[in-house]
């Protein structure tokens, strides 16, 4: 029954045998021990499990591990290895810390990865653009305001580093 998959995760290749029904999020968390990706709803609605699959923000609770075969996946644990980060904290991670963009922290990894996707396409998003881009990621603690500040902070920083 088990299926062979090859996935690059946070820059490292992984060859695994997985059950066809195994969710990507459980593959990341239970098989590989990357528990920074959280499960919040199992129905694609809350965004806590957001990871980057081939640079696109994807909710890993409704994607199968077999669907990631051949893909490049970035989780929160690997974000420091992203090109903008240079081995340190990614500017979005820095922004969330600097601007108090998190309280309980449960939505944070997904929120950060969704923000990375936004900023890679648009380093200076307006407030409305940020709100729209993060509409698929729920936060129950912050009221979103400091998350918006965090994304703005990171956008400025990323723009500065590109120059």
């Amino acid at each position: 029954m088990a299926v062979d998959i090859q996935v690059r995760i946070n820059g490292k290749p992984h060859d695994s045998k997985v059950e066809p029904r195994l969710l990507l999020v459980h593959y990341l968390r239970d098989t590989l021990g990357l528990t920074g990706t959280h499960v919040g709803c199992e129905t694609t609605l809350c965004g806590a499990c957001t990871v980057l699959v081939d640079s696109k923000a994807v909710k890993s609770c409704t994607m199968l591990a077999v669907q990631a075969d051949g893909a490049e996946v970035t989780t929160i644990e690997g974000l420091a290895g992203a090109p903008e980060a240079g081995g340190k904290l990614h500017p979005v991670q820095e922004g969330f810390w600097e601007k108090h963009g998190l309280q309980c922290g449960y939505c944070t990894p997904g929120m950060i990865l969704a923000s990375v996707e936004l900023l890679r396409g648009n380093a200076e998003p307006s407030e409305a653009e940020i709100r729209r881009a993060l509409a698929g990621n729920l936060c129950r603690c912050t009221g979103y305001q400091n998350i918006i500040e965090a994304v703005r902070y990171a956008g400025k920083k990323m723009k500065g580093r590109k120059r």
Partner: protein, 789 residues
Amino acid sequence: MATATRYIGKPLKRKEDPRLIQGLGHYVDDLRLPEMHYAAFVRSPYAHAKVRSVDVSKARTAPGVVLALTGADVKGAIGFVPCAAQIPDMKSAPRPVLAVDRVRFVGEAVAVIVATDRYAARDAVDLVEVDYEPLTPVVDPERAMAKGAPVLHEPYKDNVAYRWELEGGDLKKAFKQADKVIRQRIINQRLIPMAMEPRGVMADYKPGEKQLTVWSSTQIPHLLKTQISVMLRVPEHSVRVITPEVGGAFGSKLNVYPEEALCGYLAMQLGKPVKWIESRRENFQTTIHGRDQIDDLEIAVKRDGTVLGLRCKVIADLGAYYQLLTPLIPTLTGLMMCGCYKIPAARMEITGVLTNKMATDAYRGAGRPEATYFVERAMDLVAAELKMDPVEVRRKNFPQPEEFPYATPTGLIYDSANYQRSLDLVLKNSGYTKLRKEQAQLRKKGKLMGIGLSTYVEICAMGPSSAMPAGGWESATVRVEPTGNVTVLTGSSPHGQGQETTFAQIAADMLGLEPDEVQVVHGDTAAVSYGIGTFGSRATAVGGTAVYKCLEKLRSKLGQIAGHILGEDPGKLVFRDKKILSKSSKKSLNFVEAVGAAYVAKTLPPGMEPGLEAVTFFEPTNFTFPFGAHVCVVEVDSETGDVKVVKYVAVDDCGNVINPMLVDGQIHGGIVQALGQALLEEAVYDENGQLITGELMDYAIPRAADIPWMELSRTVTPSPVNPMGVKGVGEAGTIGATPALINAVVDALSPLGVRHVDMPVKRERIWQLLHKPSGRAPAKAAPKKRRAR
């Protein structure tokens, strides 16, 4: 000894964050042990049914399954789910951890499966055959009270759990002297707390050591430890509860749930670690709900706007069973029913009703948002009735700043406040006068713009033990390690509030150190002295004060040691820049040298014990009463009924502030949770008792795009009831904001003769108000009504 404030009051970045932003924190589901087993529950699809039989035989032989147990299997071994609240003559409503012969709400567990893999456990749930005999469900609380309604808990004859009354002042006189009596039914709908992290439990038993360890996503590790010990009949010193990272709670984890005891039991039975992680659907069905009150209000008022008396009859829907504080929550509404007004007479009558739903319990605000909501609606009803500005009605009824401490007719002593000042500031910051002019212009054009005001007071820092069901104090231990690092152990186990940072700020300032030199430990009952927990906006005011008192003791001891070594008067020493120094002689001792002296114990003053550790169990003398004033501006689309919040301005006063960035964060989050209630959220059970808002697909919590930018500022009125003058802030936004928004919506619709609308103000509800035959629909909208959705 004076305290330098290098860190207290500063927006220090959180010490918690580096691990959380890198995915290095550990919530319960992130923990794993060798030979991990997983539990899954079989839950009732019926709201009310007899359980004729539960057949787990097929599940028992399914691949990976090691154990399948029914209610009958564990009946004698595990005690009932605990309730700490006692109200005189209250009916009992005992809940077994697994239903035995009857289920009383959708989601109530009837069997548990344990397997070696979470998928296998879930698969086996479907193999359990339960024979239910459906009974008539009791869903509507008013019908539940009626004669002849099916009874949930026999042998009782009805579903009224309790009646509770509170009266103060001369109510008869108030209503006799009134020029007008205004009546309004106000509904505070049922809500789902929806912490981002669902509940989760992991348990491990070491038979050799006789040690049961339970990891749980909870607000109350110590109380949970005691209850697990009682429920499982295991000596309390054999139980250890560890609360790792908690992904939000909002009151929903201020509880003891069946799964927590059951996982402990299963681990003991199997001798293997057992984990259960709640699904979101389970979270909606079986984690406590909030609010759910029907408030019938009568306001006695004089022609000039002076409120003479307030009477409120409350029907509180408690659900099927009592969770930890279920019956108590509505009584908090009673205590706070007069809000921030000098209302001389008040009466509250609560009827707590049992229905076939999940229990209600403490949800952010817990009883106080209900009071604030109706008293703030009351002020606007008075204003509308007397054609006064809502600002003037409020001013007329505020107690004056010099009247504090102020005694309410409900028996509380408000500690300190200046309601006029927060109101003045919010009016200024929002440009209230200008907003009213704009509104007049827009009304001429047929536009529905509304301005809503809320001036609130809340009760925090819960609380003196005399007023709490199970202890209102908090513990702290502060230990200065031999190398000079500081460990703060607190009973206030957080779930996002940031105590690791704020308590480190307090300790750093008190000892003249850096916050990085302070480590705050919480949530492990084997490490931390018995504590109460984080809820009721108590962490800083009660838990923080316990830390403060420990630091005072340590300063006194270190001062004596340093004074002895330096030959200085300990009373004249200060702690600064990692030194203990004399201001007059400039002589100083390095902090770490004084610490070393305490442990090496060769140069201590005669008779002094060695070591540097202080323990405090702080008992507050009173609650604290934060307050504030909010202005909300909305636009109502006269065609679709859509309510858009265009401006939100808040002034909050939580006394002295330890970390302003964290305080603002609490207020942002609180306001948005309140706006969620006012705009979107509603837990709906159908007539069969099915939770039809059972998923995030059907229950809308605010998304980033649903809410406005919030403009915050604050006034500072220190509390006299604790040495740091702090009040608490965790629930302020949730308490202040719902009435501001609803008052704005009613204000927008007031040209149509609308004087009240219930939450949530979903489009269809507003559309119906705009288009009901008796209402005067705006000229432009009326002909198009068939086009609206």
